[in-house]
């Protein structure tokens, strides 16, 4: 959906057409849900957070001016809803992580020769490790990394979504990745991780 198409739908909703909102929901629900899922770590809470984000969007759609994309604005709402949720009562994401297990059975549809069965198993393992590690990241790091990797937002859009300066976006994403690497290497999952000086062959020169 282009920005123009999005805006058109938003205008309709603002004029009272709720079915246009449904179109927006269907268009964005996968991204919103996955953002919530990887941020809060379990499906039930992700479901609630996703709904809450959409409802908040609906309730305040009157004030959406169209400066940024609707979807970016929506992701911002989602992040805020999730972070508020995590902050409340000192909650930390308690990942049930069953959503990760379910993915075991999925076949990777990649015809690339590099992906032998062994490699695929490894890939799944890695994916789970990464998602587990993600839940150990501080919420802010988690959110920004997800906006980049799942929602595919550009740095500029992320800046809009989170009200951050460009420089902050860059450095925060970098620090999030670095931190995730250290978490993963501590688990022994990415032997090539940079974070620890003690990793095999990871000694920096100079």
């Amino acid at each position: 959906m282009t920005k123009e198409e999005e805006l058109e739908l938003v205008r309709k909703v603002q004029a009272g057409d709720t079915s246009s909102f449904e179109t927006l929901v269907l268009e964005n629900q996968t991204k919103v849900y996955n953002l919530a899922l990887r941020t809060v770590g379990n499906e039930d809470d992700a479901f609630d957070m996703s709904q809450e984000a959409f409802i908040k969007a609906y309730n305040s759609i009157g004030s959406f001016r169209g400066d940024s994309r609707f979807s970016v604005w929506l992701y911002r709402l989602t992040v805020n809803v999730c972070l508020d949720f995590l902050r409340s009562e000192g909650r930390r994401a308690h990942g049930s992580l069953t959503y990760l297990e379910d993915e075991d059975e999925k076949e990777l549809e990649i015809s690339d020769e590099r992906f032998s069965p062994e490699a695929m198993v490894e890939k799944n393992e890695l994916r789970r490790a990464v998602n587990r590690g993600l839940l150990q990241l501080p919420p802010n790091y988690r959110a920004i990394l997800l906006l980049r990797e799942i929602e595919g937002l550009s740095y500029e859009e992320i800046g809009e979504a989170l009200s951050l300066e460009a420089g902050t976006v860059k450095s925060r994403i970098f620090r999030a990745r670095k931190k995730l690497c250290s978490i993963l290497s501590a688990e022994g999952n990415i032997p090539e991780a940079i974070a620890s000086k003690h990793t095999k062959g990871g000694v920096k020169h100079g």
């Binding site: 709720t18 079915s19 909102f21 449904e22 929901v25 269907l26 629900q29 996968t30 991204k31 919103v32 849900y33 996955n34 899922l37 990887r38 499906e43 479901f47 996703s50 709904q51 809450e52 959409f54 409802i55 609906y58 309730n59 959503y99 993915e103 999925k106 890939k123 890695l126 994916r127 490790a129 990464v130 998602n131 993600l134 990394l145 997800l146 980049r148 990797e149 799942i150 595919g152 550009s154 740095y155 860059k170 450095s171 994403i173 970098f174 990745r177 995730l180 690497c181 993963l184 990415i190 090539e192 991780a193 940079i194 062959g201 990871g202 920096k204 020169h205 100079g206």
Partner: protein, 365 residues
């Protein structure tokens, strides 16, 4: 290498496509030659691949639930011609007990002969009877000459519903209308929401009455409250749907806690119903109500309350009875403490006719 610190940071940008062509190709060339940077690049790329791949499918109910609530928000804002808004508060207190058809028949058939203490039919005793168990319940003994004609009850409703609420769910066909605060949404049997055409307007008054849950709309996928199909009435709580019966008691509603504590039986209601028609008639009766100039006090003349079919009151937190007061030939409605009093447009006679009709309907097998 000193500048690898900057290179490493740039790798993050490279992966995100935030470098221009020249910078990107320079960095790639460097990565080829530099073990450290290669490791970082691989690590960051792996993370990227892992996070971005295999997005989970959102549950079907996500979008449906959102639109359900959107519709509630929308419909709550509209004024209804029959002072719907005023009823919302009172409505929150209206508890309608829908009694299974079987129960109705039972009561009316043996009303005069019935020993009140035996009339407290627990779910278990009813179920045992319907199952044709040989266990003689005490109330059967009380009137051995009565022909209960259980086959009359057996077709549908009370017993099946009680014993298998999940099965009841599957039997629900056609259109299900779910009521919530300020509105209702209809769903087809396959779960697709139908746009509200306003046909259920007059039911909405009762619906909000029945949905007296103090929990806010936002926290519920399905608001606790009444849901109706073409031919049955249910109460939905926390996503679970159970058939309900409406009871009209003379005077106060029974104090269930006290009765069960002292092991006493529930008193017999004056009238009961489960059917949609009666619900609609009741709604029509009470819909045009206004704030009275003066407020009579005193004990209720009638109390309407909702019960599940196993005889237990629905959660006390969710429903409190609607009280009808008759004073100088006029009918007043009072909900819970916050709701205040309303004066119904209908007359005392209208109300009594309605109750009589219910009793009459119940006496027919």
């Amino acid at each position: 290498m000193d500048n690898c610190k900057e290179n490493i940071e740039a790798i993050s940008l490279l992966i995100d496509g935030e470098l221009d062509e020249r910078q990107a190709s320079e960095l790639r060339a460097h990565i080829e030659r530099c073990e450290t940077c290669k490791k970082v690049y691989n690590a960051f790329s792996s993370i990227s691949d892992s996070l971005g791949s295999e997005l989970a499918e959102p549950p079907e109910m996500l979008a449906k639930g959102v639109m359900f609530k959107v519709n509630l928000i929308e419909n709550g804002g509209k004024k209804r011609r029959f002072a719907f808004g005023r009823f919302t508060a009172i409505a929150a207190c209206l508890a309608l007990i829908l009694i299974g058809a079987g129960h109705m028949g039972l009561l009316s058939g043996i009303k005069s002969d019935f020993v009140p203490s035996k009339a407290s039919l627990s779910a278990e005793s009813f179920l045992e009877d319907s199952a044709g168990a040989d266990t003689e319940e005490s109330f059967l003994d009380a009137s051995p000459s009565l022909n209960f004609d259980f086959p009359n009850f057996g077709d549908e409703g009370l017993f099946e519903a009680d014993s298998a609420p999940e099965a009841q769910k599957e039997e629900i066909g056609g259109i299900v209308t779910q009521f919530g605060h300020g509105g209702c949404v209809s769903f087809e049997n396959n779960g697709l929401p139908i746009e509200d055409t306003g046909e259920n307007d007059f039911l909405r008054f009762i619906a909000t009455a029945l949905n007296s849950s103090s929990r806010t709309v936002d926290s519920d996928l399905f608001c606790n409250g009444i849901s109706v199909t073409d031919n049955a009435i249910y109460f939905v709580k926390d996503g679970e749907r159970m058939p309900v019966e409406v009871r009209i008691y003379e005077g106060d509603a029974p104090d269930h806690a006290a009765l069960s504590a002292s092991n006493k039986a529930l008193p017999e209601p004056l009238a009961v119903f489960t059917d949609i028609e009666s619900l609609k008639d009741l709604a029509k009766l009470l819909e045009n109500s206004a704030i009275p100039e003066s407020e009579p006090s005193g004990k209720p003349s009638y109390t309407l309350a909702a019960y599940s079919l196993d005889g237990s009151p629905l959660d006390e937190d969710d429903l409190s009875p609607l009280v009808l007061l008759i004073h100088s030939g006029q009918v007043y409605l009072r909900g819970n403490d916050n709701a205040g009093l309303l004066l119904a447009e209908c007359s005392e006679k209208d109300l009594l006719d309605f109750i009589d009709k219910l009793i009459e309907k119940a006496s027919k097998p």
